[in-house]
């Protein structure tokens, strides 16, 4: 199992969700985060003085997937999140040793096995 952790633009979230939906994934966890990277902060003028905004609003999308699906998921996220402008974000892949479904106590790959590609989320 791997955790695919993507930092993306907030307004690409829906597209990413849709892409993963099409692909069929078992679940997602989303966190509002702030980021800085190549995309530097900017300065707004406000009542004649500057406001430095050094951190950008981003969204972190985490999906734990079985090893065989990692590449497909990464590709799908990257395609959906890309705008081509600086600040599109990063995807990190982390090892996961075990997964437990709290409801049933099940463990292992089956807890995160793919569902049929139906429309979840709406």
């Amino acid at each position: 199992m791997r955790k695919v952790e993507a930092i993306i633009r907030p307004d690409r979230l829906q597209a990413v969700q849709d892409a993963l939906d099409t692909l069929g994934t078992s679940g997602l966890t989303i966190t509002e985060v702030l980021g800085c990277g190549r995309q530097r902060g900017y300065t707004e003028m406000y009542r004649g003085t500057r406001v430095h905004i050094s951190l950008q609003r981003k969204v972190k999308v985490e999906a734990v997937v079985v090893d065989s699906r990692v590449e497909a998921v990464v590709e799908a996220i990257a395609a959906a999140a890309r705008t081509g402008e600086i600040g599109d974000g990063k995807i990190f892949i982390l090892p996961v040793e075990e997964a437990v479904r709290i409801r049933t106590g099940e463990r292992g790959d089956l807890t995160i096995r793919h569902l049929d590609a139906e429309h979840w989320g709406h």
């Binding site: 907030p10 829906q14 597209a15 849709d18 989303i30 509002e32 609003r57 969204v59 709406h122």
Partner: protein, 489 residues
């Protein structure tokens, strides 16, 4: 209607005069008299409007002391209860409170006139207890109505965050239609307390606030505390609400509105008494806020924001009864003591009863003190001006007025408590008072009203950019494209 040239006020009145005896009377008055009536009426209506605006004050106060998941229900409740009061007061409440009563029964309840009233310019009704004022029946009706609505608002301020919405509706109907009118009749409508015993309650510490608080007390006993209010050890936990700025905006609106509440209760402007009442009212609020601040600081070494506001409200609630009877120096004492009472009242009551705003203290205990304080501080001269009761103990050495006030406290509390307890008990046995535990934890907004009061705080909208999936890309562009002709893309 914009007054079109051919429609002079005088003319139209004359036309109508033939039909409405009272209007004829008005037309027969000298202009001077009619200016006098008009200024009285403008004053009473203005004061009544300020009291109406206090609903916004209660709304903000309650919103501020609620948790974010329960704010929509608060404002919906305020609007619905204001609406129910409006209609019930028109239908039966006003008549029961002020319509001429007769004989012995008249000491208990009115009803000789005023059911489902119609109004024409300047028309009157047979309201013996209000004959002292020359304003038309419509103005009397309106001013008394807003008091009824305030009393009902006080009931609900205590029952936040766990009450079923239907309960608000079911209890409002008999409260605005009978319970409040009953007490109102006793004290102001020619009943046994006011006309009989000479109980002094200038603007309603008893009629409005104690009535509201007594009903609230009955309701709270049956309702029980919010989940989490009391720990395993039985000790209370604080549930500090979510928004002090709005809560204190509420306090400021109430303070503002109270400038109509008490001074408007002169029911006239001509004798200029309202200006004095206003000053006395303002000073009591100030003293209440400062004394509550001091006491809470001494007790817990922090300047509790909510308690400062509670102090102001307690000062205002306490001065409501004596506001027409006392001098500024007495107002400062009355307000300051109310500020002390409210702090210890909240401390004490919170041990047993979950009253999120501290309304039982601020409206209940402070008002008991306010009613009694008339018996201590009433200036005999002002008692004569107002024509009710006599001077207080400190002026006259006579305990009579204090006794009358105590009778009022006991009888109002007992009556309202019993009637309300019965009603709430019936509601509890039939439809129930509380939402389910799950609904309470999820919040009343989503469970009873289908949407959070703060949708963006609860709805998953990362980035704040709520865009529906269906509307992405294709659809959006299509639709935008259809809005053609835009030069800027």
């Amino acid at each position: 209607m914009r007054p079109i040239a051919r429609v002079r006020a005088g003319g139209s009145l004359a036309i109508v005069g033939a039909t409405f005896p009272l209007v004829t009377h008005a037309a027969a008055q000298t202009t001077a008299q009619s200016a006098g009536v008009a200024v009285d009426t403008v004053w009473v209506i203005l004061a009544g409007m300020l009291v109406l605006f206090m609903q916004a004050g209660f709304a903000m106060l309650e919103v501020g002391f609620s948790r974010m998941k329960n704010v929509g229900t608060v404002v919906a409740k305020i609007i619905v209860n204001l609406s129910i009061s409006s209609i019930m007061w028109w239908g039966v409440g006003f008549a029961l409170a002020f319509g001429a009563g007769s004989g012995f029964l008249g000491h208990l309840i009115g009803g000789g006139a005023g059911f489902f009233p119609s109004f024409t310019p300047g028309s009157t009704l047979d309201l013996p207890a209000l004959h002292g004022s020359d304003v038309p029946a419509a103005a009397k009706f309106f001013f008394e109505f807003v008091f009824c609505a305030i009393s009902l608002a006080i009931v609900w301020g205590t029952m936040l965050e766990r009450t079923k919405f239907i309960v608000y509706i079911l209890f409002a109907i008999p409260f605005a239609g009978f319970i409040y009118p009953l007490i109102s009749h006793w004290v102001w409508g020619g009943g046994w307390l006011g006309a009989g015993l000479g109980v002094q309650d200038f603007a309603g510490s008893g009629v409005v606030h104690l009535t509201g608080a007594s009903a609230a007390f009955a309701g709270l006993l049956l309702l029980g505390p919010r989940i989490g209010k009391y720990g395993r050890d039985g000790k209370p936990n604080a549930i500090p609400g979510h928004n002090m700025p709005l809560a204190q905006l509420g306090v400021l609106i109430l303070w503002f509105g109270w400038m109509g509440f008490n001074p408007g209760s002169t029911f006239e402007a001509l004798n200029l008494h309202f200006a004095d009442v206003l000053i006395v009212t303002n000073l009591a609020a100030a003293a209440g806020a400062l004394s509550a601040m001091t006491v809470i600081y001494v007790r817990q070494k922090s300047l509790d924001v909510g308690m400062i506001g509670n102090g102001a409200i307690a000062g205002l609630a306490a001065i409501t009864a004596p506001s027409g009877f006392v001098q500024p120096w007495a107002a400062l004492i009355i307000g300051a003591i109310a500020g002390v009472i409210v702090v210890f009242g909240v401390y004490f009551i919170d041990k047993f009863i979950d009253d999120p705003l501290g309304a039982l203290s601020a409206h209940g205990l402070a008002c008991v003190w306010g009613l009694l304080s008339c018996g201590l501080f009433a200036d005999p001269l002002l008692a004569k001006v107002d024509g009710v009761g006599r001077g207080g103990l400190f002026y006259t050495g006579n305990w009579a007025q204090l006794g009358a006030q105590a009778v009022a406290v006991v009888s109002i509390f007992a009556t309202v408590f019993c009637l309300s307890f019965g009603l709430f008990w019936i509601i509890k046995r039939t439809v129930g008072l509380r939402v389910s535990e799950r609904d309470e934890i999820e919040g009343l907004d989503i469970s009873e009203h289908g949407m959070w009061g703060y949708p963006e705080s609860f709805m998953p909208v990362p980035g704040g950019a709520y865009i529906h999936p269906d509307a992405i890309a294709g659809a959006t562009h299509q639709r935008l494209a259809s809005v053609s002709g835009e030069p800027t893309t």
